[in-house]
Amino acid sequence: MSLMRRIGNLWRRQQVDADIQAELESHIEMAVEDGVRAGMCEQDARREARLRFGNPVLVRERVVDADITLSLSGICADILYSLRQLRRAPSFSLTAILTLALGIGASTAIFSLVHAFLLRPMPYPHANRVVVVWEQLRVLGIDRFMAPIGDFLDYRNDNRVFDEMAAVENAHFVLRAGEYPERIFAVRATANLFPLMGLRAALGRTLTASENQPGHEHVAVLSDGQSNGKTASIMQRTNCTMY
């Protein structure tokens, strides 16, 4: 308890100083009062009170010292004492340290998982309002079934629940732009995926609605997710022009 007060005092210096000042002044005022009551005139009583009190500036500094030195030396003494106690009972200390280490380690590990999967927000604006809609295929017992494009178009036309709906599908493509073909991971998406997620292209542009039509030539947006070098080398090999 007193340790908490000492630490607190370190930060509340100004208030403590004012408190000390008020305390010392009240002492002198009470002494003056008593002097006047005993028949002295106020001036004499005040002089007498000051004389008996001693140098008020010096007293105040010594009171402040008493507060500060104890606060610091007290904390040091507490730390030294605890270290001595730890050394005196090494097996207990070891048990305690191991217990703490395991506990902290386990908590940290669990928190890292929870943070990564549950707490950390997705890097999109209003990520808490983005949901993934799946179809169910009860006949085959499939809980998460990708909606065929026709179903998606119906959903989007009849949609009164969401601000916007976009279709996304994982895919793999073969990139034939260098000496060897290369397998790259990609996402097939409707053009409105980018505005829906609040994403803009760092270079060039994303897809337009006209490119979203059947029969239009294929357009790709390179992600920066893997590494800059890879993206840059793909751009170089495909001779792609930037908009």
């Binding site: 408190d19 009240s26 009470m30 001693g54 010096l58 007293v59 010594r62």
Partner: protein, 108 residues
């Protein structure tokens, strides 16, 4: 070996004074020590405050602002249970010191 010095004696006087009252301000403690010792012990009045603050930091006494009989704001101190124990220890120390000095005086 009993630890005793002037500071310890002042602590003893203050703790003893507070043990006889529920609460008292610094000025009151000074007056009480002077009166109870038949004016033999004159504490320089200001010097009581570093001691009071040191004892409060040690948790022997606690303080609160309150009004005096003449409606003046003053900081009142009261003995804590830790202070009670400290008082007993200080009294024992003092007895030891007195005994020790008496023994030496008889011997000399």
């Amino acid at each position: 070996m009993a630890r005793n010095d002037l500071q310890g004696s002042l602590d003893l006087l203050v703790l003893k004074t507070l043990s006889q009252r529920t609460k008292l301000h610094g000025y009151g403690i000074v007056l009480h020590i002077q009166k109870a010792s038949d004016e033999l012990l004159q504490v320089e009045e200001g010097s009581i405050y570093p001691a009071l603050h040191r004892m409060e930091q040690s948790g022997w006494i606690s303080s609160e602002w309150a009004l005096t009989e003449t409606n003046r704001r003053a900081k009142y101190y009261r003995l804590t249970s830790a202070g009670q124990k400290q008082l007993q220890a200080a009294e024992q120390d003092f007895e030891q010191l007195v005994k020790g000095i008496r023994a030496i005086r008889r011997y000399a």
